[in-house]
Amino acid sequence: MRPEQGTMQSRAMAMAALLELLTDQPVIICNGFPSREAYKIADRPTHFYMIGSMGSAPAIGLGVALAKPKKQVVIFDGDGNVLMGMGTLATVGALRPKNFIHVVFDNEVYGSTGNQPTISNVVPLEKVAKAAGYVNVERVREREDLVYEFKDMLKKDGPNMLLVKVNEMVEDVGRVMLDPPDITKRFMNALE
């Protein structure tokens, strides 16, 4: 979504606002620019940065949430990713993990491959999640609403989906400078 279409907030700005509210919660971050931006904004051992396996972030998060019911699991996802792994909304909705917060940064494009449009401009993903059985879903645009709803979801039993409309601006970021096996090891140690 272009800034002139009414969304002033970039994904990196939205992500920074959420990372400020998190401490030691495990965060699974989808492939492409979201992982690279999160790594630049705040690198924590509790972050699992994905490269590849697009669409799998909520499924990985679900595995963590089921195995670690006392940890609140956060997923940073994108609209293209959710559309690719849409079946997982149903699995999450059916299994109803309480400790599951699914944040979708919705910019309506495949931003890592040249901004080809997705179909999230006409498919309201948070309504799909609600129909599938997510307990709380919200769609927000402004930073204040984003912060308010995220704080609220941190207190509520889930599964929760917070969809935030963002523009297609991308931060000037490099790749995640960690080897994938080291990301695994570090994340596992942080979860213990």
Partner: protein, 165 residues
Amino acid sequence: MIESDAFIQALQDIGVDFFTGVPDSILAGIIADLMERRLYTPAVREDEAVAMAAGAYMSGKIPAVLMQNSGLGTSLNTLISLNMIYCQPCILIVSWRGYQGKDAPEHLVMGEVMPQFLDTMKIPHRTLSEKTAIDDLKWLAETFMKQRIPVALLITKGVVKGLHP
């Protein structure tokens, strides 16, 4: 024929404590047993099951994913760009549909090429038999621990008691 409860016990004995997957008739007895014991988390696609297993593995579990061999095709990208690249092992319990060309048409191509397919993907595999079952499970555990990648145990029709014995 191996009883499904004995098979599940053997998997638990090597440490498996997270079971997910997508059903197949050859695996029906095992899944029914797992569900009765509330040990099974159903997935809607095999790649989702593999990713869920990866999350469970990173949370300290030893995961097993049950699937029909058609699901290997569905899981291919996840097995490569998640499990292989991130060194995340999981045990794949795969039913070998189309074994020796005796099955419905949709299973024949994958049934014929499956061992070569797994070899190409560098996924170690063995085919379960009643005679060598103890050894097969031991191999499974050792390969999982040593190689830290997905490892597959293939099950042909009639080896573990299922819906169509």
